[in-house]
Protein backbone atom coordinates (compact mmCIF):
# COMPACT_ATOMS: atom_id res chain seq x y z
CA UNK A 1 0.00 0.00 0.00
CA UNK A 2 2.34 2.69 -1.23
CA UNK A 3 1.62 6.13 -2.52
CA UNK A 4 0.63 5.97 -6.16
CA UNK A 5 -0.91 2.49 -6.02
CA UNK A 6 -4.33 2.01 -7.50
CA UNK A 7 -7.34 0.98 -5.43
CA UNK A 8 -10.86 0.04 -6.42
CA UNK A 9 -13.46 0.59 -3.69
CA UNK A 10 -17.02 -0.57 -4.36
CA UNK A 11 -20.09 1.08 -2.89
CA UNK A 12 -18.16 4.23 -2.10
CA UNK A 13 -20.88 6.88 -2.36
CA UNK A 14 -21.67 6.81 1.35
CA UNK A 15 -20.86 5.39 4.74
CA UNK A 16 -17.89 3.19 5.15
CA UNK A 17 -16.93 3.04 1.47
CA UNK A 18 -16.76 6.82 1.29
CA UNK A 19 -14.75 7.09 4.49
CA UNK A 20 -12.35 4.48 3.24
CA UNK A 21 -11.93 6.10 -0.16
CA UNK A 22 -11.04 9.32 1.61
CA UNK A 23 -8.57 7.66 3.98
CA UNK A 24 -6.83 5.78 1.17
CA UNK A 25 -6.65 8.90 -0.99
CA UNK A 26 -5.09 10.86 1.87
CA UNK A 27 -2.33 8.23 1.90
CA UNK A 28 -1.67 9.10 -1.73
CA UNK A 29 -3.40 6.12 -3.24
CA UNK A 30 -5.37 6.73 -6.43
CA UNK A 31 -8.83 5.53 -5.48
CA UNK A 32 -11.43 4.51 -8.02
CA UNK A 33 -14.62 4.73 -6.06
CA UNK A 34 -17.72 3.11 -7.50
CA UNK A 35 -21.26 4.35 -7.11
CA UNK A 36 -24.49 3.08 -8.59
CA UNK A 37 -26.86 5.99 -8.29
CA UNK A 38 -25.57 9.28 -9.74
CA UNK A 39 -28.05 11.23 -7.61
CA UNK A 40 -26.48 9.90 -4.43
CA UNK A 41 -22.88 10.43 -5.44
CA UNK A 42 -22.63 14.11 -4.46
CA UNK A 43 -20.28 13.58 -1.54
CA UNK A 44 -18.05 11.41 -3.67
CA UNK A 45 -17.73 14.09 -6.36
CA UNK A 46 -16.98 16.69 -3.65
CA UNK A 47 -14.19 14.45 -2.43
CA UNK A 48 -12.79 14.06 -5.92
CA UNK A 49 -12.11 17.82 -6.14
CA UNK A 50 -9.46 17.79 -3.45
CA UNK A 51 -8.13 14.24 -3.38
CA UNK A 52 -7.07 11.59 -5.92
CA UNK A 53 -10.52 10.01 -5.84
CA UNK A 54 -12.10 9.06 -9.15
CA UNK A 55 -15.81 8.29 -9.05
CA UNK A 56 -16.68 5.34 -11.25
CA UNK A 57 -20.22 4.47 -12.26
CA UNK A 58 -20.74 0.77 -11.63
CA UNK A 59 -23.73 -1.37 -10.76
CA UNK A 60 -22.26 -4.49 -9.20
CA UNK A 61 -25.57 -6.27 -9.76
CA UNK A 62 -24.92 -6.17 -13.49
CA UNK A 63 -22.05 -8.04 -15.01
CA UNK A 64 -21.62 -5.81 -18.11
CA UNK A 65 -21.50 -2.72 -15.90
CA UNK A 66 -18.80 -4.28 -13.72
CA UNK A 67 -16.76 -5.40 -16.70
CA UNK A 68 -17.04 -2.00 -18.36
CA UNK A 69 -16.01 -0.18 -15.18
CA UNK A 70 -12.97 -2.35 -14.57
CA UNK A 71 -11.97 -2.12 -18.23
CA UNK A 72 -12.11 1.70 -18.04
CA UNK A 73 -9.98 1.68 -14.95
CA UNK A 74 -7.39 -0.66 -16.42
CA UNK A 75 -7.24 1.38 -19.61
CA UNK A 76 -6.40 4.49 -17.63
CA UNK A 77 -4.09 3.04 -15.01
CA UNK A 78 -2.94 -0.30 -16.40
CA UNK A 79 -3.17 -1.98 -13.00
CA UNK A 80 -5.17 -2.48 -9.83
CA UNK A 81 -3.31 -3.02 -6.58
CA UNK A 82 -6.14 -3.04 -4.07
CA UNK A 83 -9.72 -4.20 -4.33
CA UNK A 84 -11.95 -3.32 -1.41
CA UNK A 85 -15.18 -5.29 -1.78
CA UNK A 86 -17.37 -3.06 0.31
CA UNK A 87 -20.67 -2.69 -1.55
CA UNK A 88 -23.47 -4.39 0.30
CA UNK A 89 -26.62 -3.71 2.25
CA UNK A 90 -28.71 -5.20 5.02
CA UNK A 91 -32.05 -6.86 4.39
CA UNK A 92 -33.90 -7.02 7.67
CA UNK A 93 -36.88 -9.21 8.44
CA UNK A 94 -37.81 -12.72 9.42
CA UNK A 95 -37.25 -15.34 6.75
CA UNK A 96 -40.91 -16.01 6.16
CA UNK A 97 -41.81 -12.32 5.96
CA UNK A 98 -39.38 -11.63 3.14
CA UNK A 99 -40.29 -12.31 -0.45
CA UNK A 100 -38.21 -14.44 -2.80
CA UNK A 101 -37.14 -11.23 -4.55
CA UNK A 102 -36.01 -9.62 -1.28
CA UNK A 103 -33.79 -12.55 -0.46
CA UNK A 104 -32.49 -12.80 -4.00
CA UNK A 105 -31.62 -9.07 -4.01
CA UNK A 106 -29.65 -9.57 -0.83
CA UNK A 107 -27.57 -12.33 -2.41
CA UNK A 108 -27.34 -10.53 -5.73
CA UNK A 109 -25.42 -7.64 -4.17
CA UNK A 110 -23.65 -9.10 -1.15
CA UNK A 111 -22.46 -12.37 -2.71
CA UNK A 112 -22.86 -12.44 -6.48
CA UNK A 113 -21.85 -8.79 -6.83
CA UNK A 114 -18.71 -9.37 -4.81
CA UNK A 115 -17.91 -12.36 -7.02
CA UNK A 116 -18.50 -10.30 -10.17
CA UNK A 117 -16.08 -7.54 -9.20
CA UNK A 118 -13.51 -10.07 -7.98
CA UNK A 119 -13.79 -12.01 -11.23
CA UNK A 120 -13.26 -8.84 -13.27
CA UNK A 121 -10.24 -7.67 -11.26
CA UNK A 122 -8.38 -10.88 -10.46
CA UNK A 123 -6.94 -11.66 -13.92
CA UNK A 124 -5.08 -8.34 -13.98
CA UNK A 125 -3.78 -8.90 -10.45
CA UNK A 126 -2.59 -12.38 -11.33
CA UNK A 127 -0.81 -11.00 -14.38
CA UNK A 128 0.92 -8.40 -12.20
CA UNK A 129 1.83 -11.08 -9.70
CA UNK A 130 0.59 -8.88 -6.88
CA UNK A 131 -2.54 -7.44 -5.40
CA UNK A 132 -4.70 -7.32 -2.33
CA UNK A 133 -8.37 -8.11 -2.09
CA UNK A 134 -10.13 -7.20 1.13
CA UNK A 135 -13.73 -8.27 1.60
CA UNK A 136 -15.94 -6.46 4.07
CA UNK A 137 -17.75 -9.15 5.99
CA UNK A 138 -19.55 -8.92 9.28
CA UNK A 139 -19.63 -10.64 12.66
CA UNK A 140 -22.92 -12.05 11.36
CA UNK A 141 -20.70 -14.34 9.28
CA UNK A 142 -20.03 -16.48 12.34
CA UNK A 143 -22.96 -15.45 14.52
CA UNK A 144 -26.17 -15.75 12.48
CA UNK A 145 -28.99 -13.69 13.96
CA UNK A 146 -32.76 -14.12 13.81
CA UNK A 147 -34.40 -11.15 12.10
CA UNK A 148 -31.25 -10.76 9.99
CA UNK A 149 -31.20 -14.22 8.47
CA UNK A 150 -30.56 -13.42 4.80
CA UNK A 151 -27.87 -10.91 5.72
CA UNK A 152 -26.18 -13.47 7.98
CA UNK A 153 -26.39 -16.06 5.22
CA UNK A 154 -24.74 -13.76 2.67
CA UNK A 155 -21.94 -12.85 5.04
CA UNK A 156 -21.36 -16.52 5.92
CA UNK A 157 -21.09 -17.20 2.21
CA UNK A 158 -18.57 -14.36 1.84
CA UNK A 159 -16.59 -15.86 4.72
CA UNK A 160 -16.29 -19.10 2.80
CA UNK A 161 -15.54 -17.36 -0.49
CA UNK A 162 -12.70 -15.44 1.16
CA UNK A 163 -11.19 -18.65 2.44
CA UNK A 164 -11.31 -20.46 -0.91
CA UNK A 165 -10.12 -17.42 -2.85
CA UNK A 166 -7.29 -16.90 -0.39
CA UNK A 167 -5.95 -20.37 -1.14
CA UNK A 168 -6.48 -20.15 -4.87
CA UNK A 169 -5.04 -16.66 -5.40
CA UNK A 170 -2.07 -16.84 -3.04
CA UNK A 171 0.28 -18.73 -5.38
CA UNK A 172 -0.18 -15.89 -7.90
CA UNK A 173 0.98 -13.34 -5.36
CA UNK A 174 -2.53 -12.07 -4.75
CA UNK A 175 -3.61 -11.85 -1.14
CA UNK A 176 -7.18 -12.16 0.03
CA UNK A 177 -8.50 -11.34 3.49
CA UNK A 178 -11.64 -10.30 5.25
CA UNK A 179 -12.70 -7.73 7.83
CA UNK A 180 -15.56 -8.72 10.11
CA UNK A 181 -16.93 -5.57 11.75
CA UNK A 182 -19.73 -5.62 14.28
CA UNK A 183 -21.92 -2.58 14.82
CA UNK A 184 -20.44 0.54 13.29
CA UNK A 185 -22.14 3.89 13.00
CA UNK A 186 -22.57 4.21 9.23
CA UNK A 187 -25.22 4.68 6.62
CA UNK A 188 -25.76 0.92 6.67
CA UNK A 189 -28.58 1.59 9.12
CA UNK A 190 -30.37 4.17 6.96
CA UNK A 191 -29.81 1.93 3.96
CA UNK A 192 -31.28 -1.12 5.66
CA UNK A 193 -34.07 -2.53 3.58
CA UNK A 194 -37.15 -4.32 4.82
CA UNK A 195 -39.45 -6.52 2.83
CA UNK A 196 -42.94 -5.20 2.05
CA UNK A 197 -44.60 -7.80 4.22
CA UNK A 198 -42.38 -7.04 7.21
CA UNK A 199 -44.41 -5.33 9.96
CA UNK A 200 -47.67 -5.89 8.08
CA UNK A 201 -50.70 -6.63 10.23
CA UNK A 202 -51.11 -10.04 8.64
CA UNK A 203 -47.69 -11.36 9.48
CA UNK A 204 -47.44 -13.60 12.57
CA UNK A 205 -43.91 -12.28 13.04
CA UNK A 206 -44.86 -8.62 13.44
CA UNK A 207 -44.72 -8.58 17.27
CA UNK A 208 -41.28 -10.22 17.11
CA UNK A 209 -40.07 -7.74 14.53
CA UNK A 210 -41.13 -4.93 16.86
CA UNK A 211 -39.23 -6.53 19.72
CA UNK A 212 -36.23 -6.93 17.46
CA UNK A 213 -36.41 -3.28 16.41
CA UNK A 214 -36.59 -2.18 20.01
CA UNK A 215 -33.53 -4.25 20.87
CA UNK A 216 -31.40 -2.96 18.04
CA UNK A 217 -32.67 0.59 17.98
CA UNK A 218 -30.24 2.97 19.55
CA UNK A 219 -27.47 0.40 19.48
CA UNK A 220 -26.13 1.78 16.23
CA UNK A 221 -26.26 5.38 17.42
CA UNK A 222 -24.04 4.36 20.30
CA UNK A 223 -21.84 2.16 18.13
CA UNK A 224 -18.22 2.88 17.31
CA UNK A 225 -17.55 5.56 14.71
CA UNK A 226 -16.64 4.57 11.20
CA UNK A 227 -13.04 5.68 11.80
CA UNK A 228 -12.45 2.51 13.80
CA UNK A 229 -13.23 0.37 10.80
CA UNK A 230 -11.19 2.59 8.48
CA UNK A 231 -8.23 2.17 10.81
CA UNK A 232 -8.56 -1.61 10.72
CA UNK A 233 -8.77 -1.61 6.94
CA UNK A 234 -5.71 0.61 6.56
CA UNK A 235 -3.86 -1.62 9.00
CA UNK A 236 -4.88 -4.74 7.06
CA UNK A 237 -3.88 -3.30 3.69
CA UNK A 238 -0.57 -2.15 5.16
CA UNK A 239 0.37 -5.64 6.27
CA UNK A 240 2.19 -8.16 4.10
CA UNK A 241 1.11 -10.89 4.22
CA UNK A 242 -2.40 -10.01 5.31
CA UNK A 243 -3.97 -12.14 8.03
CA UNK A 244 -6.97 -14.27 7.12
CA UNK A 245 -9.34 -12.20 9.23
CA UNK A 246 -9.40 -8.79 10.87
CA UNK A 247 -11.75 -7.95 13.70
CA UNK A 248 -12.44 -4.37 14.69
CA UNK A 249 -13.60 -3.78 18.26
CA UNK A 250 -13.35 -5.63 21.58
CA UNK A 251 -17.01 -6.68 21.39
CA UNK A 252 -16.40 -8.19 17.94
CA UNK A 253 -13.51 -10.19 19.40
CA UNK A 254 -15.83 -11.27 22.22
CA UNK A 255 -18.43 -12.56 19.77
CA UNK A 256 -15.78 -14.32 17.71
CA UNK A 257 -14.13 -16.07 20.64
CA UNK A 258 -17.38 -16.91 22.42
CA UNK A 259 -18.64 -18.52 19.24
CA UNK A 260 -15.39 -20.41 19.04
CA UNK A 261 -15.32 -21.56 22.65
CA UNK A 262 -18.95 -22.23 23.48
CA UNK A 263 -20.67 -25.44 22.40
CA UNK A 264 -23.53 -24.88 19.96
CA UNK A 265 -26.31 -25.41 22.46
CA UNK A 266 -24.83 -23.02 25.01
CA UNK A 267 -24.28 -20.39 22.36
CA UNK A 268 -27.85 -20.75 21.17
CA UNK A 269 -29.21 -20.66 24.69
CA UNK A 270 -27.39 -17.37 25.27
CA UNK A 271 -28.60 -15.93 22.00
CA UNK A 272 -32.15 -17.02 22.85
CA UNK A 273 -31.97 -15.05 26.10
CA UNK A 274 -31.46 -11.88 24.08
CA UNK A 275 -34.63 -12.27 22.06
CA UNK A 276 -37.77 -12.27 24.19
CA UNK A 277 -39.94 -13.99 21.58
CA UNK A 278 -37.71 -17.02 21.16
CA UNK A 279 -39.38 -19.22 23.76
CA UNK A 280 -41.02 -22.55 23.18
CA UNK A 281 -44.80 -22.28 23.33
Amino acid sequence: MTSGSIALVTGANSGFGLACARALAIKGIRVYATYRNPRKAGQLWDLSRTLPVFPLLMDINRNPSVERGVRQLLKREGRIDILLNNAGFVMAGFWEDLSDEDIRDQFETNVFGLLRVTRAVLPSMRKQGSGKILNIGSVAAFAALPGLGPYSATKSAVNSITEALRMEARPWGVEVAEVNPGEIRTSVVQNTRMGEKVLSAKSPYTPFTRQFEKLTKGRFEKAAPVERLVKTVLNALGQTPMKRRYLVKPDDYAVYYLRWLLPDNVWEWGLGQMFPWSRWP
Binding site: F107, R126, A144, L145, R170, K243, R244
Partner: protein, 283 residues
Protein backbone atom coordinates in the same frame (compact mmCIF):
# COMPACT_ATOMS: atom_id res chain seq x y z
CA UNK B 1 -51.55 -44.96 7.15
CA UNK B 2 -53.45 -42.75 9.55
CA UNK B 3 -51.40 -41.47 12.43
CA UNK B 4 -48.07 -41.79 10.70
CA UNK B 5 -46.06 -38.56 10.67
CA UNK B 6 -45.96 -37.17 7.13
CA UNK B 7 -42.54 -36.54 5.60
CA UNK B 8 -41.57 -34.59 2.50
CA UNK B 9 -38.09 -35.33 1.11
CA UNK B 10 -36.53 -33.66 -1.91
CA UNK B 11 -33.96 -35.13 -4.29
CA UNK B 12 -34.84 -38.80 -3.77
CA UNK B 13 -33.75 -40.38 -7.04
CA UNK B 14 -30.32 -41.35 -5.74
CA UNK B 15 -27.94 -41.24 -2.80
CA UNK B 16 -28.90 -39.65 0.48
CA UNK B 17 -32.49 -38.81 -0.48
CA UNK B 18 -33.04 -42.35 -1.75
CA UNK B 19 -31.82 -44.02 1.43
CA UNK B 20 -33.48 -41.54 3.77
CA UNK B 21 -36.90 -41.94 2.19
CA UNK B 22 -36.64 -45.75 2.46
CA UNK B 23 -35.42 -45.70 6.05
CA UNK B 24 -38.12 -43.30 7.22
CA UNK B 25 -40.80 -45.32 5.44
CA UNK B 26 -39.57 -48.44 7.21
CA UNK B 27 -39.51 -46.66 10.54
CA UNK B 28 -43.14 -45.66 10.62
CA UNK B 29 -43.31 -42.42 8.66
CA UNK B 30 -45.54 -41.76 5.71
CA UNK B 31 -43.04 -40.61 3.13
CA UNK B 32 -43.53 -38.41 0.10
CA UNK B 33 -40.32 -38.90 -1.83
CA UNK B 34 -39.91 -36.20 -4.46
CA UNK B 35 -37.56 -35.80 -7.38
CA UNK B 36 -37.11 -33.52 -10.34
CA UNK B 37 -37.29 -36.21 -12.97
CA UNK B 38 -39.81 -39.02 -12.53
CA UNK B 39 -37.98 -41.04 -15.20
CA UNK B 40 -35.44 -41.81 -12.50
CA UNK B 41 -38.09 -43.14 -10.13
CA UNK B 42 -37.89 -46.84 -11.05
CA UNK B 43 -35.18 -47.93 -8.55
CA UNK B 44 -36.95 -46.23 -5.64
CA UNK B 45 -40.31 -47.62 -6.75
CA UNK B 46 -38.86 -51.14 -6.73
CA UNK B 47 -37.16 -50.73 -3.38
CA UNK B 48 -40.21 -49.23 -1.74
CA UNK B 49 -42.69 -52.00 -2.57
CA UNK B 50 -45.09 -52.45 0.32
CA UNK B 51 -43.81 -49.41 2.18
CA UNK B 52 -45.85 -46.26 2.90
CA UNK B 53 -43.91 -44.29 0.32
CA UNK B 54 -45.23 -42.26 -2.59
CA UNK B 55 -43.18 -40.68 -5.32
CA UNK B 56 -44.05 -37.19 -6.54
CA UNK B 57 -42.42 -34.81 -9.01
CA UNK B 58 -40.89 -31.69 -7.47
CA UNK B 59 -38.19 -29.45 -8.94
CA UNK B 60 -36.88 -27.19 -6.17
CA UNK B 61 -35.60 -24.73 -8.80
CA UNK B 62 -39.15 -24.03 -10.01
CA UNK B 63 -41.59 -22.11 -7.79
CA UNK B 64 -44.63 -23.55 -9.55
CA UNK B 65 -43.36 -27.11 -9.12
CA UNK B 66 -42.70 -26.56 -5.40
CA UNK B 67 -46.15 -25.10 -4.92
CA UNK B 68 -47.82 -27.98 -6.79
CA UNK B 69 -45.78 -30.61 -4.94
CA UNK B 70 -46.64 -29.29 -1.49
CA UNK B 71 -50.30 -28.86 -2.48
CA UNK B 72 -50.44 -32.45 -3.69
CA UNK B 73 -49.14 -33.74 -0.37
CA UNK B 74 -51.62 -31.63 1.56
CA UNK B 75 -54.42 -33.00 -0.60
CA UNK B 76 -53.37 -36.58 0.07
CA UNK B 77 -52.27 -36.41 3.69
CA UNK B 78 -53.64 -33.12 5.00
CA UNK B 79 -50.44 -32.24 6.86
CA UNK B 80 -46.65 -32.18 6.70
CA UNK B 81 -44.78 -33.02 9.87
CA UNK B 82 -41.27 -33.32 8.57
CA UNK B 83 -39.41 -31.69 5.71
CA UNK B 84 -36.05 -33.08 4.65
CA UNK B 85 -34.30 -30.64 2.31
CA UNK B 86 -31.90 -32.86 0.50
CA UNK B 87 -31.75 -31.79 -3.15
CA UNK B 88 -28.39 -30.31 -4.03
CA UNK B 89 -25.29 -30.68 -6.15
CA UNK B 90 -21.70 -29.51 -6.20
CA UNK B 91 -19.97 -27.05 -8.52
CA UNK B 92 -16.29 -27.56 -9.12
CA UNK B 93 -13.80 -24.89 -10.20
CA UNK B 94 -11.85 -21.83 -9.08
CA UNK B 95 -13.87 -19.03 -7.48
CA UNK B 96 -12.59 -16.62 -10.11
CA UNK B 97 -13.75 -18.70 -13.03
CA UNK B 98 -17.40 -19.36 -12.41
CA UNK B 99 -19.60 -17.33 -14.73
CA UNK B 100 -22.56 -15.41 -13.40
CA UNK B 101 -24.87 -18.15 -14.65
CA UNK B 102 -22.86 -20.87 -12.97
CA UNK B 103 -22.88 -19.02 -9.65
CA UNK B 104 -26.61 -18.50 -9.85
CA UNK B 105 -27.30 -22.12 -10.84
CA UNK B 106 -25.37 -23.40 -7.81
CA UNK B 107 -27.27 -21.14 -5.43
CA UNK B 108 -30.58 -21.78 -7.17
CA UNK B 109 -30.68 -25.41 -6.06
CA UNK B 110 -28.53 -25.52 -2.94
CA UNK B 111 -29.83 -22.38 -1.30
CA UNK B 112 -32.84 -20.76 -2.97
CA UNK B 113 -34.41 -24.13 -3.78
CA UNK B 114 -34.04 -25.32 -0.22
CA UNK B 115 -35.47 -22.04 1.01
CA UNK B 116 -38.34 -22.19 -1.48
CA UNK B 117 -39.55 -25.56 -0.22
CA UNK B 118 -39.07 -24.46 3.40
CA UNK B 119 -41.10 -21.29 2.90
CA UNK B 120 -43.84 -23.24 1.16
CA UNK B 121 -44.08 -25.68 4.04
CA UNK B 122 -43.75 -23.22 6.94
CA UNK B 123 -47.32 -21.88 6.92
CA UNK B 124 -48.58 -25.47 7.09
CA UNK B 125 -46.37 -26.25 10.06
CA UNK B 126 -47.28 -23.01 11.80
CA UNK B 127 -50.96 -23.89 11.46
CA UNK B 128 -50.22 -27.34 12.92
CA UNK B 129 -48.13 -25.72 15.68
CA UNK B 130 -45.51 -28.39 15.12
CA UNK B 131 -42.99 -29.55 12.57
CA UNK B 132 -39.39 -30.41 11.96
CA UNK B 133 -37.22 -29.23 9.11
CA UNK B 134 -33.96 -31.02 8.44
CA UNK B 135 -31.51 -29.60 5.94
CA UNK B 136 -28.89 -31.83 4.40
CA UNK B 137 -25.92 -29.50 4.64
CA UNK B 138 -22.35 -30.61 4.46
CA UNK B 139 -19.01 -30.64 6.20
CA UNK B 140 -18.34 -28.06 3.48
CA UNK B 141 -20.74 -25.78 5.34
CA UNK B 142 -18.28 -25.57 8.21
CA UNK B 143 -14.96 -25.74 6.41
CA UNK B 144 -13.94 -24.41 3.03
CA UNK B 145 -11.91 -26.43 0.56
CA UNK B 146 -10.15 -25.13 -2.54
CA UNK B 147 -11.79 -26.09 -5.84
CA UNK B 148 -15.25 -26.36 -4.33
CA UNK B 149 -15.33 -22.88 -2.80
CA UNK B 150 -18.58 -21.91 -4.47
CA UNK B 151 -20.32 -25.07 -3.26
CA UNK B 152 -18.93 -24.46 0.24
CA UNK B 153 -20.24 -20.91 0.25
CA UNK B 154 -23.76 -22.13 -0.61
CA UNK B 155 -23.56 -24.59 2.28
CA UNK B 156 -22.23 -21.91 4.66
CA UNK B 157 -25.35 -19.96 3.78
CA UNK B 158 -27.48 -23.00 4.67
CA UNK B 159 -25.79 -23.19 8.08
CA UNK B 160 -26.55 -19.52 8.74
CA UNK B 161 -30.11 -20.04 7.53
CA UNK B 162 -30.55 -22.90 9.99
CA UNK B 163 -29.15 -20.99 12.93
CA UNK B 164 -31.27 -17.90 12.36
CA UNK B 165 -34.40 -19.85 11.48
CA UNK B 166 -34.21 -21.88 14.68
CA UNK B 167 -34.70 -18.79 16.82
CA UNK B 168 -37.40 -17.40 14.53
CA UNK B 169 -39.52 -20.56 14.65
CA UNK B 170 -39.31 -21.47 18.31
CA UNK B 171 -42.56 -19.75 19.30
CA UNK B 172 -44.36 -21.87 16.70
CA UNK B 173 -42.91 -25.12 18.03
CA UNK B 174 -41.10 -25.75 14.75
CA UNK B 175 -37.55 -27.07 14.88
CA UNK B 176 -34.74 -26.98 12.34
CA UNK B 177 -31.40 -28.72 12.15
CA UNK B 178 -28.67 -29.33 9.63
CA UNK B 179 -27.10 -32.70 8.92
CA UNK B 180 -23.44 -32.40 7.94
CA UNK B 181 -22.18 -35.38 5.98
CA UNK B 182 -18.48 -35.55 5.23
CA UNK B 183 -17.37 -37.74 2.34
CA UNK B 184 -20.16 -40.19 1.60
CA UNK B 185 -20.29 -42.82 -1.13
CA UNK B 186 -23.03 -41.31 -3.30
CA UNK B 187 -23.38 -40.26 -6.94
CA UNK B 188 -22.47 -36.74 -5.71
CA UNK B 189 -19.27 -36.88 -7.72
CA UNK B 190 -20.95 -38.10 -10.88
CA UNK B 191 -23.48 -35.29 -10.55
CA UNK B 192 -20.81 -32.66 -10.02
CA UNK B 193 -20.80 -29.83 -12.53
CA UNK B 194 -17.43 -28.44 -13.47
CA UNK B 195 -16.98 -24.78 -14.30
CA UNK B 196 -17.07 -24.60 -18.09
CA UNK B 197 -13.70 -22.99 -18.45
CA UNK B 198 -12.10 -25.80 -16.43
CA UNK B 199 -14.07 -28.45 -18.27
CA UNK B 200 -12.72 -27.08 -21.55
CA UNK B 201 -9.18 -27.24 -20.20
CA UNK B 202 -8.65 -23.48 -20.42
CA UNK B 203 -8.53 -22.64 -16.73
CA UNK B 204 -5.63 -20.63 -15.32
CA UNK B 205 -5.82 -23.07 -12.43
CA UNK B 206 -6.01 -26.17 -14.63
CA UNK B 207 -3.30 -28.33 -13.09
CA UNK B 208 -4.04 -27.69 -9.45
CA UNK B 209 -7.77 -28.17 -10.03
CA UNK B 210 -7.12 -31.46 -11.80
CA UNK B 211 -5.05 -32.60 -8.84
CA UNK B 212 -7.76 -31.61 -6.39
CA UNK B 213 -10.36 -33.37 -8.50
CA UNK B 214 -8.21 -36.51 -8.70
CA UNK B 215 -7.79 -36.44 -4.92
CA UNK B 216 -11.50 -35.85 -4.37
CA UNK B 217 -12.50 -38.64 -6.71
CA UNK B 218 -10.57 -41.20 -4.72
CA UNK B 219 -11.97 -40.98 -1.23
CA UNK B 220 -11.01 -43.50 1.38
CA UNK B 221 -12.88 -46.78 0.92
CA UNK B 222 -13.99 -46.47 4.53
CA UNK B 223 -16.24 -43.50 3.66
CA UNK B 224 -19.73 -44.41 4.85
CA UNK B 225 -22.65 -45.06 2.52
CA UNK B 226 -25.69 -42.81 2.36
CA UNK B 227 -27.56 -45.02 4.85
CA UNK B 228 -25.44 -43.40 7.55
CA UNK B 229 -26.85 -39.99 6.69
CA UNK B 230 -30.34 -41.48 6.69
CA UNK B 231 -29.67 -42.82 10.18
CA UNK B 232 -28.60 -39.35 11.32
CA UNK B 233 -31.83 -37.87 9.95
CA UNK B 234 -33.81 -40.45 11.90
CA UNK B 235 -31.80 -39.72 15.02
CA UNK B 236 -32.57 -36.01 14.66
CA UNK B 237 -36.26 -36.69 14.14
CA UNK B 238 -36.40 -38.89 17.21
CA UNK B 239 -34.54 -36.46 19.45
CA UNK B 240 -36.60 -34.75 22.11
CA UNK B 241 -35.24 -31.45 20.87
CA UNK B 242 -33.14 -31.35 17.72
CA UNK B 243 -29.55 -30.13 18.06
CA UNK B 244 -28.32 -27.50 15.59
CA UNK B 245 -26.04 -29.84 13.68
CA UNK B 246 -25.46 -33.53 13.19
CA UNK B 247 -22.10 -34.39 11.60
CA UNK B 248 -21.97 -37.71 9.74
CA UNK B 249 -18.77 -39.65 9.12
CA UNK B 250 -15.38 -39.51 10.74
CA UNK B 251 -14.13 -36.57 8.68
CA UNK B 252 -17.20 -34.48 9.48
CA UNK B 253 -16.53 -34.95 13.19
CA UNK B 254 -12.77 -34.69 13.27
CA UNK B 255 -12.01 -31.95 10.74
CA UNK B 256 -14.01 -29.28 12.60
CA UNK B 257 -12.56 -30.56 15.85
CA UNK B 258 -8.98 -30.05 14.67
CA UNK B 259 -9.94 -26.75 13.16
CA UNK B 260 -11.40 -25.77 16.52
CA UNK B 261 -8.10 -26.51 18.22
CA UNK B 262 -6.05 -24.38 15.88
CA UNK B 263 -5.57 -20.66 16.09
CA UNK B 264 -6.48 -18.92 12.82
CA UNK B 265 -2.91 -18.35 11.71
CA UNK B 266 -2.03 -22.00 12.14
CA UNK B 267 -5.07 -23.21 10.21
CA UNK B 268 -4.28 -20.69 7.50
CA UNK B 269 -0.78 -22.14 7.27
CA UNK B 270 -2.17 -25.68 7.05
CA UNK B 271 -4.44 -24.66 4.18
CA UNK B 272 -1.55 -22.97 2.41
CA UNK B 273 0.65 -26.06 2.70
CA UNK B 274 -2.15 -28.35 1.55
CA UNK B 275 -2.81 -26.18 -1.49
CA UNK B 276 0.89 -26.09 -2.34
CA UNK B 277 0.83 -29.87 -2.14
CA UNK B 278 -1.93 -29.93 -4.73
CA UNK B 279 0.08 -27.60 -6.96
CA UNK B 280 3.18 -29.79 -6.93
CA UNK B 281 1.57 -33.18 -7.32
CA UNK B 282 1.72 -34.76 -10.74
CA UNK B 283 -1.68 -36.11 -11.59
Amino acid sequence: MEGRPVVLITGCSTGIGFETSLLLAREGYRVFATMRNLKKAAPLKDAAKGLPLEILPLDVDKPSSVKAGVAAILRKAGRIDVLVNNAGWGAFGAIEEFSDEEVRAQYETNFFGLLRVTRQVLPVMRAQKSGRIVHIGSLAGRMTFAGIGLYCSSKYAVEALTESLRLELRPFNIETAVIEPGTIRTPFKANRRKARIFHEGKSSYQKVLENILYFGNHPSPSAPGPWKVAAAVLKALRAKRMAIRYPVGRDAVWFPFFRWFMPDFLYDWVLKKRYEGFQRQGA
